[in-house]
């Protein structure tokens, strides 16, 4: 068999192969979409009120914040790191915004939002410098700042609670307002999702994040500014957590120092369910956002299905495991398909 003889048919096969790979890539997210479909279908069939406009709007609103955090977390996880401190940053930012709005009613709302995003970015920068520059493993660094940021939050709050009544109505309206029937917060999350998704796919810097996560040592040799990119990923995650904090305050109105405690595991769960590899290098923000939607959807569905409150945690956990097992089985199938394809494609 000479090379020239093989060429014509080779083109055809490669195309076929490419299509398979593409399809597979899409399937990863498709799995979650299917799961979402089943969830909504079954729940809606049992209790049609689950599919009413108000109910869907609530689910969107609830998932907006987690989705935003999942997008930020994805940026970090892709680089083979993790940010456990997000929940504490959300707490800090939510309390900060609520406090400023309550105590200094004169401060314009956009300034407060910008300030909180900046505060989040600052927290992210601390994480990023610890991980990127000082080489502290991300899990250790952000577990440390998880405690530290929450400590600052507690000290700042000193047992105080800011209530809806203390905050300007304009601000609270942001949490409730809809544009063309879609909640504003969900639109914000969607916009962030699309922008970040586009950047990850179409900017060199975005691709470099994947490269770093896929093989950090090779990334250095390839001349990628690894340190800078990692810091940037953490800053972005922090900034999004800051934004999520403001959104939290606007949405829930009652804010104290414990806001979002323990949320980090939910966020990581969403990211993992969304097909982002926990060891970096692959996955998309769309998947992560869908993961967030699925997890919030499950919580809402369990409430609507009148599942016993005590059983909800267990069912949540079981569904989470089912989701990752499903994803894995799918991936194994794909790997097997690739193996069989080998002598047709490459050699």
């Amino acid at each position: 068999m000479t090379t020239t003889a093989a060429r014509p048919e080779e083109g055809v096969r490669r195309n076929g192969g490419r299509r398979l790979v593409d399809r597979v890539a899409r399937v990863r997210e498709l799995g979650i979409v299917v799961a979402l479909g089943v969830l909504f279908g079954v729940t809606g069939a049992v209790n049609p009120s689950f599919l009413t406009y108000d109910s869907l709007r609530d689910i969107l609103l609830n998932s907006a914040i987690v989705a935003l955090l999942a997008v930020g977390q994805t940026l970090v996880v892709i680089t083979r790191n993790v940010d456990l401190s997000v929940s504490s940053v959300v707490g800090l930012s939510a309390f900060g915004s609520a406090l400023i709005l309550a105590d200094y009613p004169g401060v314009p709302i956009p300034v407060v939002i910008a300030g909180c995003v900046a505060l989040g970015a600052l927290c992210g920068a601390i994480n990023g410098l610890l991980v990127g520059a000082a080489k502290v493993p991300a899990l250790v660094a952000t577990l440390g700042t998880l405690y530290a940021f929450r400590g600052i939050d507690y000290a700042w709050a000193g047992g105080r609670q800011v209530n809806a009544a203390d905050m300007p109505d304009d601000f609270l309206a942001l949490g409730a307002r809809s544009v063309l029937g879609v909640p504003l917060l969900a639109l914000v999350a969607l916009a962030v999702l699309l922008v970040v998704g586009w950047m990850l796919r179409n900017l060199r810097s975005g691709r470099e994040l994947y490269a770093i996560g896929s093989n950090p040592e090779a990334a250095v040799l390839a001349g990628i500014g690894v340190r800078r990119r990692i810091v940037a990923a953490f800053v972005a995650s922090g900034a999004l957590a800051g934004l999520a904090g403001v959104m939290w305050a606007a949405r829930f109105g009652t804010v104290d120092a414990t806001v979002a405690t323990g949320k980090e595991l939910d966020v990581i769960a969403a990211v993992v369910v969304g097909g982002v590899a926990i060891f970096g290098g692959s996955g998309t923000v769309y998947g992560a956002a869908l993961g967030a939607l699925l997890l919030t959807g499950i919580t809402s569905a369990l409430a609507v299905l009148r599942v016993d409150a005590l059983a909800q945690t267990a069912i949540n956990g079981a569904l989470l495991i089912a989701a990752i097992v499903l994803d894995r089985v799918l991936a194994l199938r794909v790997a097997a398909a690739l193996r069989r394809r080998r002598f047709h494609d490459a050699h």
Binding site: S49, A164, T258, A303, A309, L310
Partner: protein, 336 residues
């Protein structure tokens, strides 16, 4: 082997554990410089910040020294760490709201053995873990009045739900039991309690649970939320949902938290005791114990500053008084 029945037999013998070692001297003066430590379920909880503030103020009044310490997570095990350190610090009295009525008892017993007086407030411990329980309102009163409040608002008819804190919260569960009992009365035969939901005293969870309630029971007539976190979250949700004013909401809340919702019509009326008074009374009870005025036996009397005279009831309970009902008319008279 050791089984439950063995233990039951053994423990039935020495029942009267803690109290009455020395006789009470009702006329003993309050000692000066008493060190009283307040151990809430969790610090940074606004409710306890107010209550303990009241207690610390009381301590100042009678020449003692009060402080608030505690964990930031509402868990029994971290409370035990604090009880032990307070014992090491040789405080004169510990005033505690227990996260787990039983888990804190061994540590509290050690504290009592070291001569420290123990007062529980807000959420009681098992009876052998403290000398006195300062009860904010009798569970029976609270449970029944909340049903009465709601029943009046919904015209004694319709489906209702309860939005509670955690499934394990003792006080909540006692209240809910009394609510269920109250609902058995013939005048409430058209009211159906369809669900008890749990918001875990977490704002967002309570919020989502409220949503869930309205989705699964579109014809819900009212919600009782006997927790300050729950009622605030539920009010927030209702206030910008189409059900505002249609689904009635009542329960336990603080006036500052709910003022806005009472004024905009989301809530007609709710009730609560004054938490600052609760801490205040607990503080005096602790001082009375530490000064030997009382021992925790039924019938003993002590003075609680501006709140007046109190009598120790059965099982070492001291009752703060009836809860206050807040509505549009009176809410502006309160600031806590």
């Amino acid at each position: 082997g050791t089984t439950k029945s063995d233990v039951a037999q053994q423990s039935s013998a020495p029942a009267t554990a803690a109290a009455s070692s020395a006789a009470a001297n009702p006329n003993a003066p309050l000692k000066q410089g008493l060190k009283i430590a307040f151990l809430p379920k969790a610090v940074n909880n606004p409710y306890f910040t107010i209550a303990d503030g009241g207690g610390i103020a009381a301590a100042k009044e009678f020449g003692g020294e009060g402080k608030e310490v505690g964990p930031s997570d509402a868990s029994a095990s971290s409370q035990v760490s604090y009880i032990n350190t307070l014992t090491q610090q040789k405080q004169d009295a510990i005033v505690i709201s227990a996260n787990d009525p039983n888990a804190v008892v061994p540590a509290l017993k050690q504290a009592m053995a070291a001569g420290i007086k123990v007062v529980s407030y807000d959420s009681d411990t098992a009876a052998d873990g403290r000398h006195i329980f300062v009860n904010q309102a009798s569970a029976e009163d609270l449970g029944r009045t909340e049903v009465q409040l709601l029943a009046e608002q919904i015209g004694n008819k319709g489906k209702i739900a309860v939005l509670s804190a955690t499934p394990n919260a003792t006080n909540q569960n006692t209240w809910i039991d009394f609510m269920k009992d109250e609902l058995k009365k013939p005048e409430y035969k058209d009211i159906e309690l369809v669900k008890v939901a749990y918001g875990n005293d977490d704002d967002q969870k309570s919020f989502t649970e409220t949503q869930g309630l309205l989705r699964s029971y579109p014809d819900l007539a009212g919600i009782i939320s006997p927790t300050t976190v729950g009622i605030a979250a539920a009010a927030r949700y209702l206030s910008d949902s189409p059900s505002k004013g249609k689904v009635k909401l009542t329960g336990l809340g603080t006036p500052n938290q709910l003022r806005k919702f009472v004024k905009d019509g989301t809530i007609e009326a709710f009730e609560l005791w004054n938490p600052a008074d609760l801490g205040y009374l607990a503080s005096y009870a602790a001082a009375a114990l530490a000064s030997g005025q009382i021992t925790g036996a039924e019938g003993e009397k002590f003075k609680a500053g501006k709140l007046g005279d109190y009598t120790v009831g059965a099982k070492g309970e001291v009752l703060l008084g009836k809860p206050t009902v807040f509505n549009k008319e009176n809410i502006d008279d309160f600031d806590f």
